[in-house]
Amino acid sequence: MTQAVFWALIGMALVVLGLYALIVHAHLLRKVLALNIMSSGVFLVFIGLARRTPDADAPMAADPVPQAMVLTGIVVAVAATGLALALIVRLRALTGRTTLGDDMGD
C-alpha cells in the first residue's frame, strides 16, 4: 500500500462516517458537523491521491494544483457551515426546534 492509497482510504472512511452521521442524527448541529467531516474526507482524498510521484527519484514532487483547489474547497465549506449555522440559529429562535422534524409538505 502506497502512502497515497493509505491517505485516500482514510479519506474515504471519513466520508462514509460523515454520511452515516448525516443520515442517522436528527440534531441539525450534528448534521452540520457530519458534513464537515465528510468534506474533510473528500479533501484528504484529493490531496492524498494527488501526491503522485511520477518520478521515483523525486519523492516530494507534490502537485500544487489540488492543494490550491482544496484551499478553495475549505473556504466553500466554511461558508456552508456559516450559512447553515445562521439558519439553524434563526430556526431555533423562531420555533425552539433544532431538528427538521417531519414537516414534509407543510
Binding site: 466520508v15 494527488a50 447553515a84 430556526l91
Partner: protein, 496 residues
Amino acid sequence: MLPVLAAPAWMLAVVFVPLAAALLCFLLPRRAVILGLVAAVLTAAVTFALTLEVAAAGTAHTLLGGWAAPLGILWRADGLSAALLAMTALVGVTVSLYAAAYFRDDAHARVFFWPLWLLLWTALNALYLSADLFNLYVTLELLGFAAVSLTALGGGAAALTGAIRYLLVSVLGSLSYLLGVALLYHSCGSVDIGLVAACIPDAPRPASQVAAAAMMAGLILKTALFPFHFWLPPAHGSAPAPVSAVLSALVVKASFYLLLRLWLDVLGGGGRWAAELLGLLGVAAVLWGSVLALRQERLKLLIAYSTVAQIGYLFLALPLAVAGGAAAWTGALYLALAHGLAKAAMFLSAGNLLRFGGHDRIAELDSAVHRLPLTLTAFALAGVSIMGLPPSGGFIGKWLLLKAAFAQGRFGLVVVILLGGVLAAAYVFKVVGHAFTPAARERRLRTVPPGMEWSALLLAAAAIVLGLTLPLISPLLQVGAAPAAMATAFAAWSAA
C-alpha cells in the same frame, strides 16, 4: 448589438455584469431595485448577444487570465451552453420585472432579494460557461448558497426548514461531485473537461468509474431525481413566488446540464446500463411526481411536484439517447428549456393567485381565478406546454422522445411518456377548472399589479412559441456537440 466585441468579451460580460450588480446592490440597498432591473436587462442583452455570436460563429472560448489548461481555467460556450444561457436570461429578466413589483411593499425582502438573485444568476451563467471540473464545483456551490439563502427569504419556520434541508442536500451533492473530481484528477492529472475526456478511455478502471458514479450521484441528488426529490417540494413550495420560479425553472436545470455535460463531453455519451438505471428512476419520477402533484391541496406544492415529474422526463430520455438517438438528446434539452419557461410562468401565476386571495389552497381558488384572467391564461398556457400539447415546446420535446422510443421499440417508455402527459392534464385542469365555477365566497383581496400578470403571461407564451422555433434552435444545439467518435470509444470502454 455591438459587432466590434468578440465572443470572449460577451462571455466575460455575461458573468461579470450580474456579479458587479450583485455587489453594488449589496452596497447600495436603497437603490437595489433600479440597479437590479438595469443589471437584469443588461445581462439578458449580453447573453442574447453571446447566443447570436455562438449561433453564427460556432463555439466560443476564453482563457481566464490568459492561462492555458491544465493550469488555467477555460470558459467555453457551445450550443448547449448558449441555449441554456438564453433560457436563463429570458426567465431571469422576466422574473426580475416580476420581483420588482412583488417585493415593492417588503423592504426587508427587497434588500436581500436583489443581491442574492443576481449572485444566483452569476453562478448559473458561470456554470454554463465553465469547461473545468473544479471551477464547475465552485459555481455549483455558489449557486447552492444563493438558492438556499433565497429560499429562506420568507423567514418563516417552513421557509427556514425547507432552506436548511435544501442546504444539507446541496452540500452533500456538491461533496459527492467533488469526490469524483478528486478521483478524476488522480487519474488524469487535470480538471479541464477536454483533457479529462481525452484521458478517460485509458484511465485506470475502478477509480474513473467510481469517480463517474460519485459525480453522477451528487448531481442526481441536486437535480432531485426520484427518489432524491424529497427536499424539493418543501423548498420550492415555501419560497416567495419569484424565488420558487427561479429554483424550479433554472437551478434544477443547472445540475441537469452539468450531468449532461459530463455524460456527453467527459464520459463520451455511452454507458448503457447507467442510462437504463437513470431512465428507470426517471420513469418512477414521472409517475410518482404526477400522482403526488394531483393529490396536493396547495397550488405551490402541486407545481413543485410537477417539477419532480418533469425532471423524470429529462432522465427518461437518457436510455433513448444513449441507444443512439441524437433526436432524443435534442428532445431532452427541449423539454428542459420548455419546462424552464413554463414552470417559471406557473410559479409566477401561483404568486399572483396567492397574493390576490391570501392563500393557495386549490379548492378555494375560485374567487381569485375569476378576477385574474390573465394570470389564469398564463397558468393554462404553461400547462399546455407541461402537458405536451402542440404546438408548445413541451410537445416538441415529447414528440422527439416518442419518436426515439418507437424507433427503438421501447413501448413501455412510450406508455410512460404519454401517461405523464395525461396526468399533467389532470393536475393542470384541477386548477384551471376553478375558472368556470362561480366564486363561492368573497374575501378581502389584495390587488395584483398588471406587471406581475403580464410577466407570467410572457413566459407562458414563450413556452408555447418555443414549439414553433425548433428549426432555429436545433442548429444552435448542434454547435460544438460532442463528436460521435467519442461516444463509440466510450461504449467500448464501458463494455470492456
